[in-house]
Structure formats: C-alpha cells, structure tokens
C-alpha cells in the first residue's frame, strides 16, 4: 500500500501549472527559466570556457595541470574575501575596505607571530577579532548614524591602511618563516591523492543524500518532487566532473589543503544562505528592508552579522594572502585586492542591489579573475592590461545581470 499515491500532489492541483516530469521535464524547465533570464551561473561558466579556450590557444601552458594548480591556490585569498563581500551585497550594502582590512590583518599576524613570538593560532584569532570589531563598527555607523556603508567603508579603507602602515613600522615588511604552519598551509600542504578522490566522491554523495532526503520528505508530505532519475543524473555528473578535476590537478602538485578550506567555506556559506533562518532574513533585508522590519526580523542584528562576517572573511583572506607570499608588507591588500574581491562576487552573479546571489558566485567569479590574471602573466603582459581586461569582464558581467533582471521582470520571474 506504500506506493499508493493520490493522483495529484497538493502543490500540483492548480490546473494552470505546467507539469514537469522526469529528466526531460527537468531539462525543459531549466531551458524555460534560462530563456526567461533566470540564467544562474550559466554566463560565468560559459565565460570560463571562453577564457580557457582563448588563453590555451595563445599559450599551451595555460591549461596544464601545473598552471591550474597555481590558479587554484592563488584564487583562495581573494575568494575568501569575496565570500564576505557576497554577504554584504545580499543585504544591498557594500564594504570597500576589505582590501585594507585584509592587509591590516596580515600585518597584525606578522607582527604578533614573527616579531613578538606569539603562537600563530593566537595571532590569527586576534586579527580576526579585530576584524570583527571593525565590522561591528560599520554596523553601528549604518544603523545608529544612518551612514551609508560605501562612505563609512571608504573612510575605513584609508584608516585601516594607515593602521597597517603604522604597525608594520619602519621596516615596512615582515617575512613569515617558511617552516611555519601558515606558510606551509598556503604553499606546500597538498591533499594526498587517494584522499582527494575520496573527498570528491563524498561531495557527490552529499548532494545525492540531501537531494534524496528532500525528495522522500516531500513524497511523505504529498508534495511534488523532482524525479529520482534527474537526481541520479545530477549526482553522477557532479561525481564525474569533480573526479576529473581532481585527477587533472593530481597530475600536477594536486589539490591544496587551502583549496579544500575555501571549498568548505563556500559550502558552509551556501548552507547558511539557503537553509537557515538567518539566510532567509538576510535575503529579506536585501529584498525589502521595511517588510523585514515589520515582520519582526531584527534588521539591526542582520546588518551587524553581515558586516562582521565580511570583515572577518577579509581578515582570513588577508592572513592567507600573507601566508602565500610568506610576507606581510606595506602593499599587502592594496591595489586591486578590493576591486577583485567585489568584482568576483558580481561576476559570479551576486546582484549589486541586494536580495539575489549565492556563495558559489565568489568561487566562480574569483576563478574568472585569477584565470585572466594568470593567462596575461603567461603572455608576459603587464598589469595594465590585466586591469583593463578585468574591468571589461566586470562591465560585461553587470550588463548580463541587468539584462537578465529585465528579462526576468518581463517573464514574471523576478
């Protein structure tokens, strides 16, 4: 009797609904939503393919596993900062000081760990703690004084750059010892080959398990659910894709622990955005602050939490950047770090206007930016070209976002 299902699920009773069944149905609804402008990460993935093709044809080293390993390791610091930027963008705010905060945090760790001989964990905790206070300060300035975040963080950009210079002192540069845990983590620690395959398989398994759990619970509640075939297809596709990537990276030095750390952070943020009440509140504040306030959401705490998370992620990114360079100096976190982190989030598909975006946009966006940087370096072009091209890509990404938004509005998909 267990397979006795009513003819129509509760959420499929309205006769106006289009019916989707099986793999074909899932594919059809995907195409329909893509045409309507609900493109998701599609443009970025196409962009990555184009970038890969162009640079590979110009220099065959580009897609070599050695270079891809380098790109993956170089992406992490900016990617982590970009995750924080996604948080503030989701509530429709901005933090322009992430570069300075990352440089400041790197300097704090270098000073405490190298010059004062502290334990490195303690030094990192202090740096992240300072960043937490910085984020809360932005929160207070916004909620108590109504100061727009782009002004307060612009002021912060300058102020924390000054503090970074002040604590680095006259030498202006502190080298981290190569045998320290931080530098090893950022440069030398790679996942053993067997473990990397296992981790990739676990990721695919996790997708299948959560999808299956969701499906069976929806079945029990007599709601429509995606077909099991579609779920299997997706999980197997992810499994094959991930194993291929891991296999290819393992032809070079392999998958860095730092990359695994970044991937874990992305998944953690994805969970927080999509599966927690906090994530819903963040999206609500980004969509309509007044509605969120009237529904009893503590809007002030949401602002505090996103600014604190953003600054803390900037600090973590700054520590990773300093570790990767094995040095904290006057130019850490300056230059294009700020813009790269923000551009990565936007290129990856997080809206500048709040309420739309995902943790994966940080991952995809930073891959685009680092691929371009790496490709241009391989061509021996200097940073002037990199700035121009990154700027162009950012402009294209925003244009696609705006067009997709218009199309969504006219197709009633918001």
């Amino acid at each position: 009797m267990s397979d006795r299902q009513p003819a129509v699920a509760v959420d499929q009773t309205d006769e106006r609904l289009l019916q989707t069944r099986g793999v074909r149905g899932a594919l059809g609804s995907f195409l329909r939503s893509a045409r309507a402008g609900d493109v998701g990460p599609l443009p970025v993935i196409i962009g990555l393919l184009i970038i890969g093709t162009i640079f590979q044809s110009l220099n065959p080293i580009f897609l070599s596993s050695r270079n891809l390993v380098d790109i993956s390791m170089d992406s992490v610091a900016v990617g982590v900062i970009s995750l924080g930027i996604v948080c503030v963008l989701l509530v429709g705010e901005i933090d322009l000081s992430v570069g300075s905060v990352s440089g400041f945090a790197g300097a704090i760790v270098a000073v405490l760990f190298v010059r004062d001989g502290w334990n490195w964990i303690l030094a990192c905790l202090v740096a992240v703690g300072v960043a937490l206070l910085i984020g809360l300060l932005y929160g207070v300035l916004l909620t108590k004084f109504g100061m727009p975040s782009f002004v307060s963080s612009l002021a912060g950009l300058l102020a924390f750059l000054g503090l970074q210079l002040a604590i680095l002192g006259d030498q202006g540069s502190i080298n981290l010892p190569f045998d320290s845990a931080l530098v090893r983590f950022a440069q030398l620690d790679f996942v053993p080959a067997w473990l990397s395959y296992v981790l990739a398989a676990l990721a695919a398994l996790a997708l299948f398990a959560s999808g299956y759990d969701n499906m069976s619970r929806r079945r029990r509640a007599n709601l429509s659910s995606s077909s099991p075939q579609a779920l299997v297809v997706r999980s197997v596709a992810l499994l094959i894709g991930l194993e291929l990537v891991v296999w290819y990276l393992n032809q070079g030095r392999g998958v860095g622990w730092m990359v695994v750390f970044f991937a874990a952070l992305v998944l953690l943020f994805h969970y927080a955005f999509t599966r927690t009440g906090w994530g819903r509140s963040v999206m609500a504040v980004g969509g309509n602050v007044e509605a969120a306030r009237r529904s009893g959401i503590n809007v002030r705490n949401i602002y505090f939490s996103v600014f604190a998370l953003c600054s803390m992620m900037a600090a973590v990114g700054g520590i990773l950047a300093a570790s990767r360079l094995a040095s904290a100096n006057l130019s850490s976190g300056t230059g294009d770090v700020n813009l790269n982190a923000i551009a990565a989030a936007v290129i990856g598909g997080t809206s500048l206007f709040g309420g739309r975006g995902s943790a994966f946009s940080a991952l995809l966006g930073v891959l685009v930016i680092e691929s371009i940087a790496s490709g241009l370096t391989l061509l021996n072009l200097n940073s002037s070209y990199r700035f121009v091209i990154t700027g162009l890509v950012l402009a294209i990404a925003v244009a696609i976002d705006s067009l997709a938004r218009k199309s969504r509005a006219s197709h009633g998909r918001a």
Binding site: T276, G296, I297
Partner: protein
C-alpha cells in the same frame, strides 16, 4: 477584546490623533473610515507598533499593554496587513509567509513550511498556483491574499487590514471581502480601513468615523445610510457632497412639480 482610550499622537506641529477611542470584539468587523489625513493610517501604525502613541492607553483583554515595536504587537496577537503589503518580492510565497518566523532556524524545515502554507491557503480558498515562485510573479489580488495569509500564521486574535481593496479589480475585491467574512467566522476581531463605502457597508458590523484626528461618530453598519456616513466623514451637513445631493433632489422635485402641473392643465 481590544480597546483604545484617549490615543494621541503628534508629528511635529500636527496633531495626527487627538483622544481617539476604539473598541474591537472577537468575531466583529470594525471599519475605520475618514478622509485623507483623518488619522486612519496613524492609528493603524500605533496598533502595529510602528509608531508609539504620545498618550492614551491600549488594553488587550482588559489588561493594559504597551506596544513599542512590531514584534510586541505580533506577540500580543495583533497582526497587521499594511497597505503596501510589506512583502519581499525576491522571496517565494512560502518564505514570505514565514518571514521572521521560519521553522527550524538552524536547518529550515522547508517541507513543513510548504505543507503549512498549502493548508493555510486552502483554508482561505486562495487561488495561488504554486508557492515556490517569487512573490514578484503574482498578481495584486494574489499578493493581498499572501499578505493576509501571512498575518494569520501567528494565530492572531485581531487582524488589521489597511485599505485591503484599494488596488484590486472587481473579482479580487469580492475575494478579499469573502476572506474578511471568513476571518470573522474564525472569531477574529477585524479592523478594516477603507475609502470604499460600498465595501465597508458590505462587510462591516460597526463603522467608526475619524475626522481630523478625532472620533467623529460611530454607526451600526446595518442601519446607517451612505449619506449619514459621508456627512460624518466630511464633518458637516453643509458641504460639497450635501449641496450636490440637495441640488439634485431639488431639481428632481421641481421637474416632478412641473409635470404634475402639466397633467392638471391637461385635465
């Protein structure tokens, strides 16, 4: 059940509300009517905790209460559907229904929320094709339904509807009026603000008139005439509206007279 006494509220130099009294019982629809600037929306905002009253008392079930912020009002069991509906267009119907009170804060119970959403929408006989699309895709009447359904989710005892039919077409208006009658049948106290006399007379039990921030009469909806209401809203028997009706009826009388005379002459 809910009673307000002597509520006053000033904005700068303007007395938005002066000594306003209001009572609502369970299973009763009270309509608040008044011209623009009569203080209707301010009164709603005082009840919803958006503005605090400067003076006056609010009693709920006989005990005096303070409503400092929106969550205090929700906690008391006063739910408000604002004129702008206060929905997040980027979120789905389910997420909007459970805005601020999501089930399972650390691991959202999405299935449970969807099941409850369907139960609620079916109780209200709402016509929403699917609850997993963003609210931006819904029509005006459907959004109004979602906003009302959301206010019911916290098991409120008083529900306040600010201009529930203002932006709606004929069929949607009728649906919302049906909805209000269903709310009354569930023994909720309903406060309804409207400019539309026809709608007010159709569903309200009692009609409270505000004028320039003061109480200006209270009527039984079964017996009151539209003219009395208009007179009370505009504040005088001599005004544009009464002059117009007076003139029209006078013209009607005179034509009647002339035709009667003609009939007499014909004989």
């Amino acid at each position: 059940m809910l009673s307000l006494r002597g509520i006053s509220k000033t904005f700068g130099a303007v007395n938005a509300l002066t000594d306003v009294d209001l009572d609502v019982e369970a299973g009763e629809v009270v309509a608040i009517v008044g011209d623009n600037g009569a203080g209707k929306s301010t009164l709603v905002k005082v009840l919803a905790g958006v503005h605090a009253a400067d003076s006056g008392t609010i009693a709920f079930d006989g005990t005096e209460v303070q409503i400092h912020d929106p969550s205090a009002a929700i906690h008391l069991g006063i739910a408000t559907v604002f004129q702008d509906l206060a929905l997040c267009e980027n979120l789905s119907v389910v997420d909007n229904l459970f805005l601020g009170r999501a089930l399972g804060p650390w691991r959202l119970d999405q299935v449970g929320m969807e099941v409850k959403s369907w139960e609620l929408l079916q109780q209200l006989a709402a016509k929403i094709p699917t609850v997993r699309v963003p609210v931006a895709t819904l029509s005006g009447g459907q959004r109004q339904t979602v906003a009302i359904a959301r206010s019911l989710l916290g098991e409120p005892r008083v529900i306040i509807l600010d201009e529930p039919t203002a932006a709606l077409g004929v069929a949607q208006t009728a649906e919302v009026l049906d909805l209000i009658e269903r709310l009354r049948a569930r023994n909720l106290g309903v406060i309804m603000i409207s400019h539309n006399m026809e709608n007010v007379l159709a569903v309200a039990d009692r009609i409270v008139v505000l004028r320039l921030g003061r109480n200006n009469g209270e009527f039984d909806a079964r017996t009151v005439s539209s003219e009395d209401l208009v007179a009370s809203i505009t504040g005088a028997t001599d005004n544009v509206v009464t002059r117009r009706t007076g003139r029209l009826s006078a013209e009607a009388d005179s034509t009647k007279d002339t035709s009667a005379r003609r009939e007499g002459e014909a004989k």
